[in-house]
């Protein structure tokens, strides 16, 4: 942990549930150990009627410190309804 960014998928997931009211979170650490690259599926009713940009801004604001410490951050934001459709479709 000492030489990594100190950011973990679990930490990001917990912050998202707390700060953007995420009902479902899948955070994936793609960094191979250094904790620099994360991808996340975030489902929250707060995304309703928001553009992609607005959703990302909401998430980025909630994870300001975490994102500042990593290199790559790829959030995918869905409302509960969209997520449901996504799962049915996929």
């Amino acid at each position: 942990m000492a030489e990594s960014s100190g950011i973990t998928a679990e930490g990001i997931g917990a912050a998202l549930k707390e700060k953007v009211g995420a009902t479902h979170v899948e955070v994936e650490d793609l960094s191979g150990g250094c904790g620099q690259m994360f991808q996340a599926v975030i489902v929250s009713p707060q995304f309703d009627k928001k553009t992609t940009l607005a959703r990302h801004r909401l998430v980025n604001g909630a994870l300001k410190d975490e994102i500042a410490a990593i290199h790559a951050w790829t959030p995918k934001c869905y409302t509960p309804e969209q997520w449901e459709n996504q799962r049915k479709g996929g």
């Binding site: 992609t52 990302h56 801004r57 300001k64 994102i67 500042a68 790559a72 790829t74």
Partner: protein, 176 residues
């Protein structure tokens, strides 16, 4: 629909020819500390090193955002991107047929003040960042999803920043 390959190659050709110009412009307009050489290594920024955005930096960024209708802040240059996300963003703009004459790229790795300042200016934590008509559009994944659902092509066309269809066939004549 227009042919993708034709547009891509048109963009590539022109961008090879044109990309040094925006980068040079940016270095000249950007700041006295702008270096033409790239730093040999990536400098790691910790959150503690983030600064308040000074008036001078803010106005320099405002100027940069307004240099062309389409402005990309990226790591590296369009010809030699230094990050996969920056590379993907340049490719997406190319595939969509953005006119190189209406496009400028700023290499944030050349200037630390720009690199940090643009994040604060846009209130966006990552690079690349795309501006169209001085308006922040988003980063790589937003570009990617807009490309996939067709909203990017629509927006770029409405803004009139694509290579005119007739012009790409012939060699570039004069523009009105």
């Amino acid at each position: 629909m227009l042919s993708r390959t034709a547009l891509t190659s048109a963009f590539r050709q022109s961008s090879r020819h044109i990309s040094p110009r925006p980068v040079v412009t940016s270095a000249a307009a950007w700041s006295p500390s702008a270096r033409s050489q790239q730093p040999a290594t990536f400098r790691i920024q910790s959150p503690q090193q983030l600064r308040f955005l000074s008036e001078a930096t803010r106005s320099a960024i405002e100027k940069a955002v307004g240099t062309k209708p389409v402005v990309l802040f990226m790591k590296g240059t369009p010809d030699t991107p230094q990050c996969g996300f920056s590379k993907a963003s340049v490719q997406i703009l190319g595939i969509n047929g953005v006119d190189p004459d209406k496009f400028a790229a700023f290499n944030v790795l050349e200037d630390d003040e720009l690199r940090q300042g643009i994040k604060e200016f846009s209130e966006w934590p990552t690079i690349p960042q795309l501006y169209v008509d001085k308006e922040f559009v988003g980063g790589c994944d937003i570009l990617m999803s807009m490309h996939q659902d067709g909203t990017l092509a629509k927006m770029l066309e409405e803004k009139g920043v694509l290579v005119p269809v007739a012009e790409e066939e012939t060699q570039k004549g004069d523009r009105s």
